[in-house]
Protein backbone atom coordinates (compact mmCIF):
# COMPACT_ATOMS: atom_id res chain seq x y z
CA UNK A 1 0.00 0.00 0.00
CA UNK A 2 1.40 3.37 -1.01
CA UNK A 3 1.25 6.09 1.58
CA UNK A 4 1.42 9.83 1.16
CA UNK A 5 4.95 9.78 2.52
CA UNK A 6 6.18 7.18 0.06
CA UNK A 7 4.49 9.14 -2.72
CA UNK A 8 6.84 12.02 -1.97
CA UNK A 9 4.44 14.33 -0.15
CA UNK A 10 6.46 16.43 2.35
CA UNK A 11 5.84 15.62 5.99
CA UNK A 12 4.56 19.10 6.67
CA UNK A 13 1.64 18.55 4.30
CA UNK A 14 0.48 15.34 5.99
CA UNK A 15 -1.98 16.02 8.78
CA UNK A 16 -0.77 14.78 12.12
CA UNK A 17 -2.96 11.84 13.02
CA UNK A 18 -2.02 9.10 15.39
CA UNK A 19 -1.21 5.57 14.33
CA UNK A 20 -4.57 4.45 15.66
CA UNK A 21 -6.43 6.95 13.48
CA UNK A 22 -4.57 5.81 10.37
CA UNK A 23 -5.32 2.19 11.16
CA UNK A 24 -8.98 2.98 11.76
CA UNK A 25 -9.20 4.84 8.49
CA UNK A 26 -7.69 1.92 6.61
CA UNK A 27 -10.27 -0.39 8.14
CA UNK A 28 -13.02 1.92 6.95
CA UNK A 29 -11.70 2.07 3.43
CA UNK A 30 -11.30 -1.69 3.27
CA UNK A 31 -14.76 -2.12 4.74
CA UNK A 32 -16.27 0.19 2.13
CA UNK A 33 -14.85 -1.88 -0.68
CA UNK A 34 -15.39 -5.32 0.85
CA UNK A 35 -18.66 -6.06 -0.88
CA UNK A 36 -19.64 -5.95 -4.52
CA UNK A 37 -21.03 -2.69 -5.81
CA UNK A 38 -24.37 -4.38 -6.34
CA UNK A 39 -24.63 -5.46 -2.76
CA UNK A 40 -23.48 -2.07 -1.51
CA UNK A 41 -26.10 -0.33 -3.65
CA UNK A 42 -28.79 -2.64 -2.31
CA UNK A 43 -27.79 -1.88 1.27
CA UNK A 44 -27.92 1.80 0.42
CA UNK A 45 -31.39 1.47 -1.07
CA UNK A 46 -32.62 -0.39 2.00
CA UNK A 47 -31.23 2.22 4.36
CA UNK A 48 -32.76 5.02 2.30
CA UNK A 49 -36.14 3.35 2.56
CA UNK A 50 -35.69 3.01 6.34
CA UNK A 51 -34.83 6.72 6.61
CA UNK A 52 -37.89 7.69 4.58
CA UNK A 53 -40.07 5.48 6.79
CA UNK A 54 -38.64 7.40 9.76
CA UNK A 55 -39.87 10.62 8.12
CA UNK A 56 -43.36 9.13 7.81
CA UNK A 57 -43.32 7.99 11.45
CA UNK A 58 -42.11 11.41 12.55
CA UNK A 59 -44.73 13.39 10.65
CA UNK A 60 -47.66 11.11 11.60
CA UNK A 61 -48.12 12.35 15.21
CA UNK A 62 -48.04 15.97 14.08
CA UNK A 63 -50.68 15.38 11.41
CA UNK A 64 -52.81 13.25 13.75
CA UNK A 65 -52.58 15.85 16.51
CA UNK A 66 -53.56 18.75 14.28
CA UNK A 67 -56.44 16.79 12.70
CA UNK A 68 -57.76 15.70 16.12
CA UNK A 69 -57.55 19.20 17.58
CA UNK A 70 -59.23 20.82 14.59
CA UNK A 71 -61.99 18.23 14.22
CA UNK A 72 -62.83 18.02 17.93
CA UNK A 73 -62.24 21.66 18.70
CA UNK A 74 -64.24 23.07 15.80
CA UNK A 75 -67.43 21.69 17.35
CA UNK A 76 -66.90 23.78 20.48
CA UNK A 77 -65.97 26.99 18.71
CA UNK A 78 -68.50 29.76 18.38
CA UNK A 79 -68.64 33.48 19.07
CA UNK A 80 -70.30 32.72 22.39
CA UNK A 81 -67.48 30.30 23.29
CA UNK A 82 -65.00 33.13 23.02
CA UNK A 83 -67.16 35.78 24.70
CA UNK A 84 -68.91 33.96 27.56
CA UNK A 85 -67.50 33.18 30.97
CA UNK A 86 -66.97 29.52 31.95
CA UNK A 87 -69.77 27.71 33.75
CA UNK A 88 -69.14 25.70 36.96
CA UNK A 89 -67.91 22.12 36.60
CA UNK A 90 -70.49 19.76 35.21
CA UNK A 91 -72.78 22.50 33.97
CA UNK A 92 -72.93 22.46 30.17
CA UNK A 93 -72.42 25.57 28.06
CA UNK A 94 -70.24 28.50 28.87
CA UNK A 95 -67.19 29.90 27.17
CA UNK A 96 -63.59 30.72 27.87
CA UNK A 97 -63.63 34.53 27.94
CA UNK A 98 -62.02 34.77 31.38
CA UNK A 99 -59.24 32.43 30.29
CA UNK A 100 -58.52 34.46 27.16
CA UNK A 101 -58.45 37.72 29.12
CA UNK A 102 -56.34 36.14 31.87
CA UNK A 103 -53.84 34.66 29.44
CA UNK A 104 -53.61 38.02 27.69
CA UNK A 105 -52.95 39.78 30.98
CA UNK A 106 -50.30 37.26 32.07
CA UNK A 107 -48.54 37.44 28.71
CA UNK A 108 -48.64 41.26 28.84
CA UNK A 109 -46.86 41.23 32.21
CA UNK A 110 -44.34 38.73 30.87
CA UNK A 111 -43.67 40.83 27.77
CA UNK A 112 -43.31 43.98 29.87
CA UNK A 113 -40.65 42.23 31.93
CA UNK A 114 -38.81 40.15 29.37
CA UNK A 115 -38.71 42.21 26.16
CA UNK A 116 -36.89 45.31 27.48
CA UNK A 117 -34.70 43.28 29.81
CA UNK A 118 -33.85 40.90 26.98
CA UNK A 119 -32.74 43.81 24.80
CA UNK A 120 -30.62 45.37 27.55
CA UNK A 121 -28.87 42.11 28.38
CA UNK A 122 -28.27 41.38 24.71
CA UNK A 123 -26.75 44.86 24.24
CA UNK A 124 -24.53 44.17 27.24
CA UNK A 125 -23.40 40.90 25.67
CA UNK A 126 -22.92 42.58 22.30
CA UNK A 127 -20.73 45.40 23.57
CA UNK A 128 -18.75 43.54 26.15
CA UNK A 129 -16.32 40.68 25.85
CA UNK A 130 -14.78 38.77 28.70
CA UNK A 131 -15.56 36.51 31.57
CA UNK A 132 -18.70 38.30 32.78
CA UNK A 133 -20.29 38.39 29.33
CA UNK A 134 -19.43 34.81 28.47
CA UNK A 135 -20.68 33.51 31.80
CA UNK A 136 -23.96 35.38 31.34
CA UNK A 137 -24.22 33.98 27.83
CA UNK A 138 -23.55 30.46 29.06
CA UNK A 139 -26.03 30.74 31.90
CA UNK A 140 -28.65 32.07 29.47
CA UNK A 141 -28.12 28.97 27.34
CA UNK A 142 -28.40 26.69 30.35
CA UNK A 143 -31.39 28.63 31.73
CA UNK A 144 -33.33 28.12 28.52
CA UNK A 145 -33.11 24.39 29.28
CA UNK A 146 -34.38 24.68 32.85
CA UNK A 147 -37.81 22.99 33.08
CA UNK A 148 -40.72 25.41 33.15
CA UNK A 149 -42.16 23.71 36.23
CA UNK A 150 -39.10 24.78 38.23
CA UNK A 151 -39.55 28.36 37.12
CA UNK A 152 -43.16 28.05 38.30
CA UNK A 153 -41.94 26.93 41.72
CA UNK A 154 -39.44 29.79 41.75
CA UNK A 155 -42.21 32.31 41.07
CA UNK A 156 -44.29 30.66 43.78
CA UNK A 157 -41.45 30.99 46.29
CA UNK A 158 -40.62 34.57 45.32
CA UNK A 159 -44.13 35.97 45.01
CA UNK A 160 -47.02 33.78 46.11
CA UNK A 161 -45.49 32.56 49.33
CA UNK A 162 -44.23 36.01 50.26
CA UNK A 163 -47.41 37.95 49.56
CA UNK A 164 -49.75 35.09 50.44
CA UNK A 165 -51.95 35.30 47.40
CA UNK A 166 -52.03 33.91 43.90
CA UNK A 167 -51.85 36.49 41.19
CA UNK A 168 -51.51 37.00 37.47
CA UNK A 169 -48.50 39.20 38.21
CA UNK A 170 -46.68 36.20 39.66
CA UNK A 171 -47.64 34.16 36.59
CA UNK A 172 -46.41 36.95 34.33
CA UNK A 173 -43.15 37.03 36.26
CA UNK A 174 -42.76 33.26 35.81
CA UNK A 175 -43.46 33.45 32.07
CA UNK A 176 -41.10 36.42 31.75
CA UNK A 177 -38.28 34.53 33.47
CA UNK A 178 -39.00 31.59 31.17
CA UNK A 179 -38.88 33.66 27.97
CA UNK A 180 -35.98 35.89 29.00
CA UNK A 181 -33.04 33.57 28.20
CA UNK A 182 -34.53 32.65 24.82
CA UNK A 183 -35.01 36.33 23.98
CA UNK A 184 -31.51 37.27 25.14
CA UNK A 185 -29.85 34.70 22.93
CA UNK A 186 -32.04 35.46 19.92
CA UNK A 187 -31.44 39.20 20.30
CA UNK A 188 -27.71 38.74 20.63
CA UNK A 189 -27.53 36.46 17.58
CA UNK A 190 -29.46 39.10 15.63
CA UNK A 191 -27.10 41.85 16.82
CA UNK A 192 -24.09 39.81 15.81
CA UNK A 193 -25.26 40.07 12.20
CA UNK A 194 -24.61 43.83 12.40
CA UNK A 195 -21.09 44.52 11.21
CA UNK A 196 -18.59 45.73 13.80
CA UNK A 197 -17.40 48.24 11.16
CA UNK A 198 -20.77 49.94 11.35
CA UNK A 199 -20.56 50.14 15.13
CA UNK A 200 -17.05 51.60 14.91
CA UNK A 201 -18.14 54.02 12.19
CA UNK A 202 -20.93 55.27 14.44
CA UNK A 203 -18.58 55.68 17.40
CA UNK A 204 -15.95 57.45 15.27
CA UNK A 205 -18.58 59.94 14.14
CA UNK A 206 -18.75 60.98 17.75
CA UNK A 207 -22.08 59.39 18.54
CA UNK A 208 -22.70 58.15 22.01
CA UNK A 209 -22.83 54.43 22.64
CA UNK A 210 -26.53 54.65 23.39
CA UNK A 211 -27.12 56.44 20.11
CA UNK A 212 -25.13 53.83 18.15
CA UNK A 213 -26.95 51.06 19.96
CA UNK A 214 -30.29 52.54 19.00
CA UNK A 215 -29.60 53.71 15.45
CA UNK A 216 -27.09 51.15 14.24
CA UNK A 217 -27.23 47.94 16.29
CA UNK A 218 -30.95 47.75 17.02
CA UNK A 219 -31.87 49.03 13.59
CA UNK A 220 -29.77 46.42 11.83
CA UNK A 221 -30.83 43.64 14.17
CA UNK A 222 -34.52 44.48 14.06
CA UNK A 223 -35.75 41.57 11.89
CA UNK A 224 -33.92 39.05 14.04
CA UNK A 225 -35.01 40.73 17.26
CA UNK A 226 -38.67 40.79 16.27
CA UNK A 227 -38.55 37.19 15.08
CA UNK A 228 -36.76 35.93 18.17
CA UNK A 229 -39.10 37.74 20.54
CA UNK A 230 -42.22 36.52 18.75
CA UNK A 231 -40.96 32.93 18.81
CA UNK A 232 -40.20 33.21 22.51
CA UNK A 233 -43.68 34.67 22.99
CA UNK A 234 -45.20 31.74 21.12
CA UNK A 235 -43.45 29.44 23.54
CA UNK A 236 -44.56 31.44 26.54
CA UNK A 237 -48.22 31.58 25.51
CA UNK A 238 -48.42 27.80 25.43
CA UNK A 239 -46.78 27.15 28.80
CA UNK A 240 -48.82 25.60 31.58
CA UNK A 241 -46.37 24.63 34.28
CA UNK A 242 -45.28 28.14 35.35
CA UNK A 243 -48.94 29.13 35.80
CA UNK A 244 -49.89 26.07 37.81
CA UNK A 245 -48.79 27.43 41.19
CA UNK A 246 -49.20 31.12 40.52
CA UNK A 247 -52.67 31.69 39.06
CA UNK A 248 -55.65 31.79 41.40
CA UNK A 249 -58.07 29.72 39.32
CA UNK A 250 -57.76 27.47 36.27
CA UNK A 251 -60.39 29.58 34.53
CA UNK A 252 -57.93 32.49 34.44
CA UNK A 253 -55.59 31.02 31.80
CA UNK A 254 -56.21 29.02 28.63
CA UNK A 255 -53.56 26.39 29.24
CA UNK A 256 -54.71 25.80 32.82
CA UNK A 257 -58.29 25.51 31.61
CA UNK A 258 -57.25 22.75 29.20
CA UNK A 259 -55.29 20.99 31.94
CA UNK A 260 -58.22 21.18 34.31
CA UNK A 261 -60.91 20.14 31.84
CA UNK A 262 -58.93 17.35 30.20
CA UNK A 263 -59.00 15.26 33.37
CA UNK A 264 -62.73 15.70 34.04
CA UNK A 265 -65.18 12.96 33.20
CA UNK A 266 -67.80 15.29 31.69
CA UNK A 267 -67.87 15.21 27.88
CA UNK A 268 -68.76 18.88 27.95
CA UNK A 269 -65.57 19.76 29.81
CA UNK A 270 -63.52 17.74 27.34
CA UNK A 271 -65.23 19.56 24.51
CA UNK A 272 -64.23 22.87 26.11
CA UNK A 273 -60.67 21.59 26.45
CA UNK A 274 -60.52 20.74 22.73
CA UNK A 275 -61.99 24.11 21.79
CA UNK A 276 -59.47 25.95 23.95
CA UNK A 277 -56.67 23.82 22.53
CA UNK A 278 -57.73 24.82 19.03
CA UNK A 279 -57.74 28.52 19.97
CA UNK A 280 -54.30 28.14 21.54
CA UNK A 281 -52.89 26.19 18.61
CA UNK A 282 -54.17 28.80 16.16
CA UNK A 283 -52.65 31.58 18.25
CA UNK A 284 -49.26 29.86 18.42
CA UNK A 285 -49.36 29.13 14.69
CA UNK A 286 -50.17 32.77 13.91
CA UNK A 287 -47.31 33.95 16.12
CA UNK A 288 -44.80 31.55 14.53
CA UNK A 289 -45.87 32.34 10.98
CA UNK A 290 -45.84 36.10 11.67
CA UNK A 291 -42.35 35.79 13.14
CA UNK A 292 -41.01 34.01 10.10
CA UNK A 293 -42.79 36.29 7.65
CA UNK A 294 -41.42 39.40 9.36
CA UNK A 295 -37.91 38.01 9.30
CA UNK A 296 -38.26 37.12 5.65
CA UNK A 297 -39.74 40.46 4.51
CA UNK A 298 -37.41 42.67 6.51
CA UNK A 299 -34.42 40.65 5.38
CA UNK A 300 -35.42 41.19 1.78
CA UNK A 301 -35.97 44.89 2.30
CA UNK A 302 -32.58 45.50 3.87
CA UNK A 303 -30.84 43.56 1.16
Amino acid sequence: MRTLRSAGVPDSAIPDMGVAAVARRRVVVRDCARHSIRRRRMTGRAMQVICLIAVLIGVTPLVALVIATVSKGAGALSIGFLLHAPTPEGVPGGGISTAIVGSGEIVAYAVALAVPLGLFIALFLFERAGAIASSIRFSADVMSGVPSIIIGIFAYAVYVERFHHFSNVAAGFALGVLMLPIMVRANEEAMRTVSVDLWEAGISLGARRSRVARSVVLRGALPGVVTGNLLALARGVGETAPLLFTVASPTFAMTLLIFNDATQPFPDAQQTAWGTALVLLTLVLILSVTARTIAWTLNRKTR
Binding site: Q48, C51, L65, L117, F154, A277
Partner: protein, 345 residues
Protein backbone atom coordinates in the same frame (compact mmCIF):
# COMPACT_ATOMS: atom_id res chain seq x y z
CA UNK B 1 -17.21 37.85 14.52
CA UNK B 2 -17.26 37.35 18.28
CA UNK B 3 -13.49 36.91 18.15
CA UNK B 4 -13.24 40.24 16.45
CA UNK B 5 -15.25 41.86 19.17
CA UNK B 6 -13.30 40.01 21.83
CA UNK B 7 -10.06 41.38 20.43
CA UNK B 8 -11.30 44.91 20.91
CA UNK B 9 -10.84 46.55 24.28
CA UNK B 10 -14.13 47.56 25.93
CA UNK B 11 -13.73 50.97 24.34
CA UNK B 12 -12.08 50.36 20.96
CA UNK B 13 -10.94 53.92 20.31
CA UNK B 14 -9.83 54.73 23.81
CA UNK B 15 -6.91 52.34 23.89
CA UNK B 16 -5.07 54.05 21.02
CA UNK B 17 -2.09 56.26 21.72
CA UNK B 18 -3.77 59.24 20.06
CA UNK B 19 -6.31 59.40 22.80
CA UNK B 20 -3.64 59.51 25.48
CA UNK B 21 -1.52 62.29 23.95
CA UNK B 22 -3.23 65.16 25.63
CA UNK B 23 -2.42 63.78 29.05
CA UNK B 24 1.33 64.61 28.78
CA UNK B 25 3.28 64.33 32.03
CA UNK B 26 0.50 63.10 34.26
CA UNK B 27 0.40 59.87 32.28
CA UNK B 28 3.25 58.21 34.12
CA UNK B 29 1.75 58.99 37.47
CA UNK B 30 -1.80 58.06 36.61
CA UNK B 31 -1.74 55.33 33.99
CA UNK B 32 -5.50 54.87 34.11
CA UNK B 33 -5.91 58.31 32.53
CA UNK B 34 -4.52 56.81 29.33
CA UNK B 35 -7.86 55.21 28.53
CA UNK B 36 -10.34 57.93 27.89
CA UNK B 37 -13.90 56.71 27.99
CA UNK B 38 -16.11 56.81 24.98
CA UNK B 39 -18.81 59.43 25.08
CA UNK B 40 -21.68 57.65 26.75
CA UNK B 41 -24.76 58.48 28.69
CA UNK B 42 -24.80 57.21 32.25
CA UNK B 43 -28.36 56.04 31.74
CA UNK B 44 -27.29 53.64 29.00
CA UNK B 45 -24.55 52.16 31.17
CA UNK B 46 -27.00 51.75 34.03
CA UNK B 47 -29.48 50.06 31.74
CA UNK B 48 -26.97 47.57 30.35
CA UNK B 49 -25.25 46.76 33.61
CA UNK B 50 -28.57 46.74 35.41
CA UNK B 51 -29.95 44.23 32.92
CA UNK B 52 -26.93 42.00 33.25
CA UNK B 53 -26.98 42.28 37.03
CA UNK B 54 -30.67 41.53 37.19
CA UNK B 55 -30.18 38.44 35.05
CA UNK B 56 -27.40 37.18 37.30
CA UNK B 57 -29.64 37.90 40.29
CA UNK B 58 -32.47 35.89 38.71
CA UNK B 59 -30.23 32.89 38.05
CA UNK B 60 -28.73 32.97 41.53
CA UNK B 61 -32.12 33.68 43.10
CA UNK B 62 -33.65 30.70 41.30
CA UNK B 63 -31.01 28.32 42.61
CA UNK B 64 -30.90 29.81 46.12
CA UNK B 65 -34.66 29.83 46.58
CA UNK B 66 -35.04 26.22 45.44
CA UNK B 67 -32.16 25.06 47.63
CA UNK B 68 -33.28 26.98 50.72
CA UNK B 69 -36.90 25.90 50.39
CA UNK B 70 -35.96 22.26 50.02
CA UNK B 71 -33.59 22.25 52.98
CA UNK B 72 -36.34 21.24 55.40
CA UNK B 73 -37.04 18.04 53.46
CA UNK B 74 -33.37 17.17 53.26
CA UNK B 75 -33.03 17.84 56.98
CA UNK B 76 -35.95 15.46 57.56
CA UNK B 77 -34.84 12.58 55.35
CA UNK B 78 -31.14 13.21 54.93
CA UNK B 79 -29.38 12.77 51.63
CA UNK B 80 -31.11 9.43 51.19
CA UNK B 81 -34.03 11.54 49.93
CA UNK B 82 -32.26 11.30 46.58
CA UNK B 83 -32.45 7.58 46.12
CA UNK B 84 -34.37 5.67 48.74
CA UNK B 85 -37.87 5.12 49.99
CA UNK B 86 -41.37 5.71 48.83
CA UNK B 87 -43.43 8.82 48.39
CA UNK B 88 -46.25 8.59 50.88
CA UNK B 89 -47.28 11.98 52.31
CA UNK B 90 -50.00 10.46 54.53
CA UNK B 91 -47.42 8.45 56.48
CA UNK B 92 -44.95 11.32 56.46
CA UNK B 93 -42.62 9.47 54.10
CA UNK B 94 -40.94 11.74 51.65
CA UNK B 95 -38.27 10.38 49.34
CA UNK B 96 -37.61 10.92 45.69
CA UNK B 97 -35.92 7.64 44.76
CA UNK B 98 -38.83 6.10 42.87
CA UNK B 99 -39.48 9.37 41.08
CA UNK B 100 -35.86 9.69 40.01
CA UNK B 101 -36.07 6.12 38.70
CA UNK B 102 -39.32 6.90 36.88
CA UNK B 103 -37.77 10.00 35.31
CA UNK B 104 -34.71 8.09 34.16
CA UNK B 105 -36.77 5.20 32.75
CA UNK B 106 -39.20 7.38 30.79
CA UNK B 107 -36.37 9.51 29.42
CA UNK B 108 -34.37 6.44 28.45
CA UNK B 109 -37.29 4.79 26.65
CA UNK B 110 -38.14 8.08 24.94
CA UNK B 111 -34.56 8.33 23.67
CA UNK B 112 -34.62 4.72 22.45
CA UNK B 113 -37.67 5.69 20.39
CA UNK B 114 -36.66 9.14 19.24
CA UNK B 115 -32.96 8.79 18.42
CA UNK B 116 -33.25 6.35 15.49
CA UNK B 117 -36.32 8.11 14.12
CA UNK B 118 -34.80 11.56 14.58
CA UNK B 119 -31.53 10.54 12.95
CA UNK B 120 -33.40 8.88 10.09
CA UNK B 121 -35.38 12.07 9.54
CA UNK B 122 -32.34 14.32 9.64
CA UNK B 123 -30.42 12.08 7.24
CA UNK B 124 -33.44 12.08 4.91
CA UNK B 125 -33.86 15.83 5.12
CA UNK B 126 -30.23 16.68 4.53
CA UNK B 127 -29.20 13.89 2.13
CA UNK B 128 -32.09 12.11 0.47
CA UNK B 129 -35.14 14.31 0.02
CA UNK B 130 -35.09 16.98 -2.71
CA UNK B 131 -34.83 20.51 -1.38
CA UNK B 132 -38.31 21.64 -2.42
CA UNK B 133 -39.81 18.95 -0.21
CA UNK B 134 -37.25 19.07 2.59
CA UNK B 135 -37.99 22.73 3.35
CA UNK B 136 -41.72 22.34 4.10
CA UNK B 137 -41.07 19.05 5.92
CA UNK B 138 -38.53 20.55 8.28
CA UNK B 139 -40.76 23.58 8.84
CA UNK B 140 -43.61 21.32 9.85
CA UNK B 141 -41.38 19.37 12.24
CA UNK B 142 -40.24 22.69 13.70
CA UNK B 143 -43.91 23.55 14.13
CA UNK B 144 -44.23 20.45 16.30
CA UNK B 145 -41.81 22.18 18.69
CA UNK B 146 -44.15 25.17 18.86
CA UNK B 147 -47.21 23.08 19.74
CA UNK B 148 -47.90 23.77 23.43
CA UNK B 149 -47.12 20.79 25.63
CA UNK B 150 -50.62 20.91 27.11
CA UNK B 151 -52.12 20.36 23.65
CA UNK B 152 -49.85 17.37 23.10
CA UNK B 153 -50.87 16.11 26.54
CA UNK B 154 -54.58 16.57 25.80
CA UNK B 155 -54.26 14.68 22.53
CA UNK B 156 -52.24 11.91 24.17
CA UNK B 157 -54.75 11.56 27.00
CA UNK B 158 -57.97 11.61 24.99
CA UNK B 159 -56.86 10.05 21.67
CA UNK B 160 -53.62 8.09 22.11
CA UNK B 161 -54.41 6.60 25.50
CA UNK B 162 -57.60 4.74 24.46
CA UNK B 163 -55.78 3.60 21.32
CA UNK B 164 -52.92 2.27 23.43
CA UNK B 165 -55.26 0.47 25.82
CA UNK B 166 -57.21 -1.33 23.11
CA UNK B 167 -54.70 -1.91 20.31
CA UNK B 168 -51.07 -0.96 20.83
CA UNK B 169 -50.38 -2.38 24.29
CA UNK B 170 -52.04 -5.80 23.78
CA UNK B 171 -50.09 -6.12 20.53
CA UNK B 172 -46.82 -5.31 22.30
CA UNK B 173 -47.56 -7.91 24.97
CA UNK B 174 -47.61 -10.61 22.31
CA UNK B 175 -44.12 -9.77 21.03
CA UNK B 176 -41.84 -12.81 21.35
CA UNK B 177 -38.87 -11.67 23.45
CA UNK B 178 -39.57 -7.99 24.05
CA UNK B 179 -42.98 -8.94 25.46
CA UNK B 180 -41.27 -9.30 28.84
CA UNK B 181 -41.02 -5.52 29.03
CA UNK B 182 -44.73 -5.20 28.27
CA UNK B 183 -46.56 -7.48 30.68
CA UNK B 184 -49.51 -6.73 32.89
CA UNK B 185 -52.90 -5.17 32.20
CA UNK B 186 -53.16 -2.50 29.51
CA UNK B 187 -54.69 0.61 31.08
CA UNK B 188 -53.65 3.20 28.55
CA UNK B 189 -51.91 5.68 30.84
CA UNK B 190 -48.50 4.11 31.40
CA UNK B 191 -44.78 4.63 31.42
CA UNK B 192 -44.75 3.59 27.77
CA UNK B 193 -47.32 6.21 26.76
CA UNK B 194 -45.42 8.89 28.67
CA UNK B 195 -42.23 7.88 26.87
CA UNK B 196 -43.96 8.04 23.50
CA UNK B 197 -45.25 11.53 24.34
CA UNK B 198 -41.74 12.58 25.37
CA UNK B 199 -40.38 11.13 22.14
CA UNK B 200 -42.87 13.18 20.12
CA UNK B 201 -42.01 16.33 22.04
CA UNK B 202 -38.24 15.93 21.76
CA UNK B 203 -38.27 14.94 18.09
CA UNK B 204 -37.95 18.55 16.80
CA UNK B 205 -34.92 19.15 19.04
CA UNK B 206 -33.14 16.05 17.77
CA UNK B 207 -33.99 16.73 14.13
CA UNK B 208 -33.14 20.45 14.07
CA UNK B 209 -29.79 20.14 15.83
CA UNK B 210 -28.54 16.97 14.18
CA UNK B 211 -29.60 18.26 10.77
CA UNK B 212 -27.46 21.34 11.32
CA UNK B 213 -24.58 19.07 12.30
CA UNK B 214 -25.01 16.89 9.19
CA UNK B 215 -25.08 19.99 7.00
CA UNK B 216 -21.84 21.17 8.58
CA UNK B 217 -19.77 18.24 7.31
CA UNK B 218 -17.52 19.68 4.57
CA UNK B 219 -18.40 18.90 0.98
CA UNK B 220 -14.78 17.91 0.37
CA UNK B 221 -15.16 15.03 2.85
CA UNK B 222 -18.12 13.65 0.93
CA UNK B 223 -16.32 14.05 -2.37
CA UNK B 224 -13.25 12.28 -1.02
CA UNK B 225 -15.35 9.34 0.09
CA UNK B 226 -17.12 9.21 -3.28
CA UNK B 227 -13.77 9.32 -5.04
CA UNK B 228 -12.79 6.22 -3.09
CA UNK B 229 -15.78 4.45 -4.63
CA UNK B 230 -18.22 4.68 -1.75
CA UNK B 231 -21.91 4.52 -2.57
CA UNK B 232 -24.23 7.31 -1.51
CA UNK B 233 -25.20 5.44 1.67
CA UNK B 234 -21.58 4.62 2.45
CA UNK B 235 -20.75 8.30 2.19
CA UNK B 236 -23.48 9.02 4.73
CA UNK B 237 -22.60 6.13 7.01
CA UNK B 238 -18.82 6.43 6.92
CA UNK B 239 -18.24 10.15 6.42
CA UNK B 240 -21.23 12.33 7.18
CA UNK B 241 -22.45 10.63 10.36
CA UNK B 242 -18.99 10.32 11.96
CA UNK B 243 -18.18 13.89 10.94
CA UNK B 244 -21.33 15.16 12.63
CA UNK B 245 -20.80 13.01 15.70
CA UNK B 246 -20.35 15.75 18.25
CA UNK B 247 -23.28 17.73 16.87
CA UNK B 248 -25.50 14.67 17.06
CA UNK B 249 -24.31 14.02 20.60
CA UNK B 250 -25.25 17.61 21.48
CA UNK B 251 -28.68 17.16 19.90
CA UNK B 252 -29.36 14.02 21.92
CA UNK B 253 -28.06 15.57 25.14
CA UNK B 254 -30.29 18.63 24.80
CA UNK B 255 -33.23 16.37 23.95
CA UNK B 256 -32.54 14.42 27.15
CA UNK B 257 -32.61 17.71 29.03
CA UNK B 258 -35.99 18.52 27.57
CA UNK B 259 -37.38 15.06 28.26
CA UNK B 260 -36.24 15.15 31.89
CA UNK B 261 -38.01 18.41 32.57
CA UNK B 262 -41.29 17.94 30.71
CA UNK B 263 -43.99 17.77 33.33
CA UNK B 264 -47.49 18.73 32.20
CA UNK B 265 -47.97 16.33 29.31
CA UNK B 266 -46.34 13.51 31.28
CA UNK B 267 -48.52 14.20 34.32
CA UNK B 268 -51.59 13.70 32.14
CA UNK B 269 -50.59 10.33 30.69
CA UNK B 270 -48.27 8.50 33.08
CA UNK B 271 -50.93 7.38 35.56
CA UNK B 272 -49.22 8.88 38.61
CA UNK B 273 -48.25 5.98 40.80
CA UNK B 274 -45.04 6.80 42.65
CA UNK B 275 -43.48 3.33 42.61
CA UNK B 276 -40.84 1.69 40.47
CA UNK B 277 -42.78 0.39 37.46
CA UNK B 278 -42.51 -3.38 37.01
CA UNK B 279 -43.41 -3.12 33.35
CA UNK B 280 -43.56 -0.43 30.72
CA UNK B 281 -47.34 -0.83 30.69
CA UNK B 282 -47.61 -0.05 34.39
CA UNK B 283 -48.40 3.46 35.59
CA UNK B 284 -45.50 5.37 37.08
CA UNK B 285 -44.46 8.87 38.03
CA UNK B 286 -41.61 11.21 37.21
CA UNK B 287 -40.15 14.11 39.15
CA UNK B 288 -42.03 16.58 36.96
CA UNK B 289 -45.36 14.77 37.09
CA UNK B 290 -45.10 14.35 40.86
CA UNK B 291 -44.46 18.07 41.32
CA UNK B 292 -47.52 18.87 39.20
CA UNK B 293 -49.74 16.46 41.11
CA UNK B 294 -48.45 16.85 44.65
CA UNK B 295 -47.75 20.55 44.98
CA UNK B 296 -51.34 21.72 45.36
CA UNK B 297 -52.13 19.02 47.90
CA UNK B 298 -48.89 19.23 49.84
CA UNK B 299 -49.24 20.19 53.48
CA UNK B 300 -47.56 23.49 54.35
CA UNK B 301 -44.10 23.12 55.76
CA UNK B 302 -42.54 19.71 55.29
CA UNK B 303 -44.86 18.59 52.48
CA UNK B 304 -44.25 21.68 50.37
CA UNK B 305 -40.56 21.54 51.13
CA UNK B 306 -40.43 17.91 49.96
CA UNK B 307 -42.05 18.81 46.63
CA UNK B 308 -39.63 21.70 46.20
CA UNK B 309 -36.81 19.26 47.00
CA UNK B 310 -38.03 17.19 44.03
CA UNK B 311 -37.77 20.36 41.96
CA UNK B 312 -34.25 20.78 43.30
CA UNK B 313 -33.26 17.29 42.14
CA UNK B 314 -34.82 17.97 38.76
CA UNK B 315 -33.01 21.30 38.52
CA UNK B 316 -29.69 19.64 39.31
CA UNK B 317 -30.27 16.91 36.71
CA UNK B 318 -31.30 19.31 33.96
CA UNK B 319 -28.48 21.76 34.69
CA UNK B 320 -25.92 18.94 34.48
CA UNK B 321 -27.38 17.65 31.22
CA UNK B 322 -27.72 21.12 29.69
CA UNK B 323 -24.21 22.19 30.64
CA UNK B 324 -22.92 19.01 28.98
CA UNK B 325 -25.08 19.73 25.91
CA UNK B 326 -23.93 23.34 25.66
CA UNK B 327 -20.29 22.30 25.95
CA UNK B 328 -20.85 19.81 23.14
CA UNK B 329 -22.55 22.48 21.00
CA UNK B 330 -19.65 24.85 21.60
CA UNK B 331 -17.09 22.24 20.63
CA UNK B 332 -16.53 22.94 16.98
CA UNK B 333 -16.50 20.06 14.55
CA UNK B 334 -15.70 16.50 15.43
CA UNK B 335 -12.99 14.02 14.62
CA UNK B 336 -13.42 12.89 11.09
CA UNK B 337 -12.86 9.31 10.18
CA UNK B 338 -12.53 9.74 6.44
CA UNK B 339 -10.94 13.10 5.83
CA UNK B 340 -9.80 14.78 2.64
CA UNK B 341 -6.10 14.34 2.96
CA UNK B 342 -6.21 10.71 3.96
CA UNK B 343 -2.93 9.06 4.80
CA UNK B 344 -3.84 6.22 2.47
CA UNK B 345 -3.56 7.06 -1.21
Amino acid sequence: MSDLIASLPPSPVAGSSVAGEGDDGSQALRPWRKRRRLPSSPLYAIVRWGGAGLFAALVIGLIVSIVSQSSQAFAHSGLSFLWSGTWNPDAGDYAGGTLVAGTVITTLVAMIIVVPIGLGISVSLSELIPRWLAGPLSTSIEFLAAVPSIVVGLWALLVLSPLFATDVEPALERLPVLGWFFHGPAYGPSVLLASVVLAIMTLPTVVALSRTALGGVPLADREAAMALGATHWQVVRRTVLPGARSGIAAAITLAVGRALGESIAVALVIGNRPAIPHSLLAPGATLGSAIVNQFAEASPGLGTSAVIALAGILLLLTILVNVAGQLLVRRRGGRRLLGVRGAVV
